[in-house]
């Protein structure tokens, strides 16, 4: 019996290797994704946001504003247009993201303690930029306001210590936990690569049953008396083993070569990947059990696999989705996987927290494999 299993497994490896497009996809897909995304997020932090300053005052006070802006790491002053119209044009053409307009008589108004207004314009078309730019500007604003305020108070006869205390008695310290440098590559690269990997695995899994009962050799298999359970069980073991095998170099490169963070133990991380792989394979197997042919199976598989990353709440938090939709997102194993990956990679959640994730993925696998068995049995009955 064991020998028969080995023969089936050997045959499956041979078949998977012979399927050239599948072979290319499985071997090259995830690795290509890793190098591509590491390239895209080569500079993983949004800083040096291109900034233009229209200095209509050209006084020492306005130069102080420019110095404050230059001191911010997030902003990079690249040009000094002469007019608002020029600045507007630069923002429209996305040559600068932030524009600052220092009005005429800025220094004079400050000296005379008159109200003056600095305009800051931010291109909001790309929110990734706009959010960071706004944070940087708000920080500069507070510092600048405090400096000018202290000077104003001193000029009004308030003691310098009191003037400083009025503005600077509270220090606000900010800490980004789990990803202190706000590194975008740490946040996104591994999930994106694993997303490509799960799509590749889904494509391969969709061939599990249709790859057998959609070819004429199925007649020989049936005539030979091999049980369907044994056949597909052995095939599934090979599939899952190969999926794990192709993710290992990705993990090695990601954590060792590119030094992406992994705060949890590697064993729990690998086990979590394995449990997800089984659940993903079970969905692919279910799809392949009711599909008419391999093309339909692949199309169904991709209809699920493609939007799963967006649904998983990785790019837009599940809590921000409509309430009735939030529970639906957890129907997909990808949601459990990508949420779990985030907890493991950044927060080192232990077994106690993750057990729920393992159980849910395990339950999904049981349900999908059972349904696949039912569909295959139905087909077998029809075939007889």
């Amino acid at each position: 019996m064991f020998k028969q299993c080995l023969v089936i497994m050997k045959r499956e490896i041979f078949f998977m290797w012979r399927d050239q497009s599948l072979r290319n996809i499985l071997i090259a897909g995830p690795l290509f994704g890793l190098f591509l995304f590491m390239g895209i997020y080569n500079h993983p932090r949004i800083d040096n946001i291109s900034t233009a300053i229209v200095d209509l005052d050209r006084s020492s006070a306005s130069r102080q504003v420019i110095a404050e802006l230059k001191n911010t790491q997030d902003l990079k002053v690249i040009t000094y247009p002469n007019s608002f119209e020029q600045l507007e044009e630069l923002i429209k053409r996305e040559q600068v993201i932030v524009g600052v307009v220092i009005p005429e008589n800025y220094g004079k108004n400050i000296a005379l303690h008159r109200h003056t207004k600095v305009a800051v314009l931010i291109d909001g078309a790309n929110i990734t930029y706009a959010t960071n730019a706004a944070s940087a500007v708000l920080t500069v604003t507070r510092t600048l306001g405090a400096e000018v305020g202290v000077k104003t108070l001193v000029a009004r006869g308030i003691q310098p210590d009191q003037a400083k205390e009025a503005y600077q008695s509270i220090d606000f310290r900010e800490e980004a936990w789990f990803n202190p440098t706000l590194n975008y590559a740490y946040f996104l690269v591994l999930p994106l690569v694993l997303n490509i990997w799960q799509q590749c695995c889904m494509l391969a899994s969709c061939m599990n049953i249709i790859g057998e009962n959609g070819v004429r050799s199925w007649l020989q298999i049936k005539a030979s008396g091999i049980s369907s359970f044994k056949l597909f069980f052995c095939k599934s073991i090979v599939h899952i083993f190969i999926y794990m095998l192709i993710v290992l170099p990705v993990y090695f490169l990601a954590f060792v070569f590119f030094k992406l963070p992994l705060n949890c133990g590697f064993i729990i991380f690998l086990l979590f990947t394995l449990v997800f792989t089984i659940s993903l394979h079970s969905i692919g197997t279910l799809i392949s059990s009711f599909s008419r042919n391999a093309v339909d199976a692949s199309r169904f598989g991709m209809v699920i696999a493609l939007p799963s990353f967006v649904i998983s709440g990785f790019t837009w938090p599940i809590a921000a989705m409509p309430h009735w939709f939030q529970s639906l997102t957890w129907v997909l194993p990808q949601t459990w996987f990508f949420q779990g990956i985030n907890y493991l990679v950044f927060k080192n959640q232990g077994w106690e927290f993750m057990v729920n994730y393992f159980l849910m993925l395990g339950m999904m696998s049981i349900i999908c494999y059972s349904l696949a068995a039912l569909f295959t049995h139905g087909f077998k009955a029809h075939f007889r």
Partner: protein, 401 residues
Amino acid sequence: MKQILNIAYYEVVHIFKDRILFLIVFVVPLLYASLIGMIYASSILQHVPLGIVDLDNSVKSRTLASAFENTNNFKVIPEINTYAGLERGMKNGTVRAGVVIPADYSQKLSQHRLTQILTVYDGSNLIYGFNTRRYFQQVLNTFSADHTAAYLGGLGMSKQEITNVIDTVSVNMQIWFNPTYSYSTFIFPGLVLLILHQIGLLGIGLTITREKERNSWIQYLCAAVPQWKIFIGKALPYLIVNFFNYSLLLWVADRFVNVKVEGSPALILLLGLLFNLIITSLGFVVSLYSPNSLQVVRYLMLLSIPLFFISGYNWPGIQMPTLIYGMSRLFPYTWMAEGFRWVTVKDLELNYLNTTIIMLAIIAVVTSFFASSFSKRRNPLTEKGVTVNSDSTYPSKDLLH
């Protein structure tokens, strides 16, 4: 003309006969757009769960806490009120941000000594991280101004004097094009264009492979019908359907997802036509040179994620290495996504889009040329039992009947 219409009619019959293809062409774009629309329905990330650890528990510290409570951007979780609880909450996702007010906060303020407030946010999800950081800055700026006003009031200054001092320099910050930081305006159009790109390619990508699999492509190769007529005939139904989908999804975006769709309708139309022509001709070329439908489905679908992220739509192109960003400029999606955003979100005129339109037109001409000038020579059979041009079989239950 009649030949083209005959081929087009034959293709329409195929679309209606293949139920899955029918669903992909007519239903899936709307289904995906609705799904993504629902996901981004709230548009703005608000009510970030916040834990306030008030170790001082004084009137002054409660004033600070109320500054966070009185904004829609945060939702204070009362159960998180200790530092250990905050650490736990941040780890298990109960809260995504926290404020720690030290035990000697009010005492230090009374003694005119510097005190420090700690604000923390979850950097493991940067959608939360970036937005929370901005919300913190907004609250703290307001709180600082109030605190300064209260301090100056204590020094005996009148309200008018305080206002004059505090407002000596004010900053008027304007967010252009997307003032509410709407994520649906930011991301939804890009995803819709990607759906149209991928579904458009997948639809027409099967048109020739299907003929090869049924051994009927040989009839096209042998018939006295020029290549361009075959291309136009086969592509016509997809051109019409894809353009219908483009218009439908734009309408859905504008009407139901509250995405900002402004700008010149003529430019939106022109961009849509060029993009549609590129997708259709590119899909036809892919189908021409693919051995079977299975390979088309497998390869095309895997393109989605890299295409989107390399395009610079989400992560700014200038932050990428020049080689990668330069490479992305070869793909029509990059140009279309950028041009579409410039028209619909920024409401820019034609003179800003010259390069985009010229590039899309060049790509359209090149892909159309390849689609309408393929070789009609039949390749010889190979040892693998090839029917036309390549191996055209894949597992199917139909084989057993």
